[in-house]
């Protein structure tokens, strides 16, 4: 079970009316390397990984849900006051036709979210290596998103999210080291 804290992990502010940026940001909402895929991947893998790294994967999966909220907040703020005409101009006409301003899990090109974006191989090394790659791909996506906006408040939140991907990648790399280690070796600290 989870305990919900009714605030964002990091503040989200948007200082520029830019619905087109919402179209790009949705990549991190329902895209292949987005926060939903990340959260589902880790929270599903945690059952069958070696005991020593389950806690880590559980915690990171939970944090991804808080990142999902931040992205949702950005998209919501960027489209909240857009007219139908502005949605059309921002390339969100097709989205508007189907969803009005409602958020939907799709990528920046409008492809709906798919569980095939991630896997659970059951092999701890294969799964953790996928996790590391997923974090690096999410980090790269944040870089490309930062490159496409000059909204300093948005860049601030996106930079925070990018840094979290770095930390997660570091922790998954450590998880690999933990499970590689010879369990019978006596360690002296």
């Amino acid at each position: 079970m989870w305990i919900y804290e009714k605030k964002l992990q990091y503040p989200v502010r948007v200082n520029k009316c830019d619905p087109r940026m919402a179209k790009y940001l949705i990549e991190q909402y329902g895209g292949a390397d987005g926060e939903l895929a990340a959260a589902l991947r880790y929270l599903n893998q945690r059952y069958t990984l070696p005991e020593k790294v389950i806690g880590l994967v559980n915690d990171i999966g939970t944090e991804e849900l808080s990142h999902l909220e931040m992205i949702a907040t950005m998209v919501y703020k960027l489209t909240k006051d857009a007219t139908a005409e502005q949605m059309k101009e921002a390339g969100l006409g097709a989205h508007y036709a189907s969803h009005d301003k409602a958020l939907f899990f799709n990528d920046a090109s409008g492809n709906p979210f798919s569980a095939t974006y991630f896997t659970a191989k059951g092999d701890p090394i294969a799964d953790l290596y996928e996790d590391i790659a997923a974090e690096e791909k999410a980090r790269a996506t944040y870089q490309w998103l930062i490159n496409m906006t000059d909204d300093t408040d948005l860049i601030d939140s996106l930079t925070f999210l990018r840094e979290r991907e770095i930390i997660h990648s570091q922790r998954f790399r450590e998880a690999v080291e933990i499970i590689k280690e010879d369990q019978s070796t006596k360690k002296i600290f």
């Binding site: 980090r139 870089q143 925070f160 999210l161 840094e163 770095i166 990648s169 450590e174 080291e177």
Partner: protein, 79 residues
């Protein structure tokens, strides 16, 4: 010490249709180098930890937009 960003010069063809970007860059953040995190690394204050997104200064990597950072000759020579 390492750099967060590496540069290379792509080949510039005589018939390239767009004005060439002389350098291309890619990011090499600290998790690629740290290995298993050692004990007792310095920690950020809670305020700085929130601002930077990490408790650990050693794991912080800034990300300036590479299209807005002047890619000087020195920048290009970094490895």
């Amino acid at each position: 010490m390492y750099t967060y960003r590496k540069y290379y010069r792509p080949y510039i063809g005589p018939f390239d249709p767009c004005p060439p970007l002389p350098y291309r860059s890619y990011e090499t953040p600290p998790q690629l180098y740290l290995g298993f995190q050692p004990y007792n690394l310095p920690q950020n204050s809670p305020q700085d930890a929130l601002r930077t997104g990490t408790l650990w200064p050693d794991l912080f990597a800034p990300y300036p937009n590479p299209y807005k950072v002047p890619t000087s000759e020195e920048g290009g020579e970094q490895d």
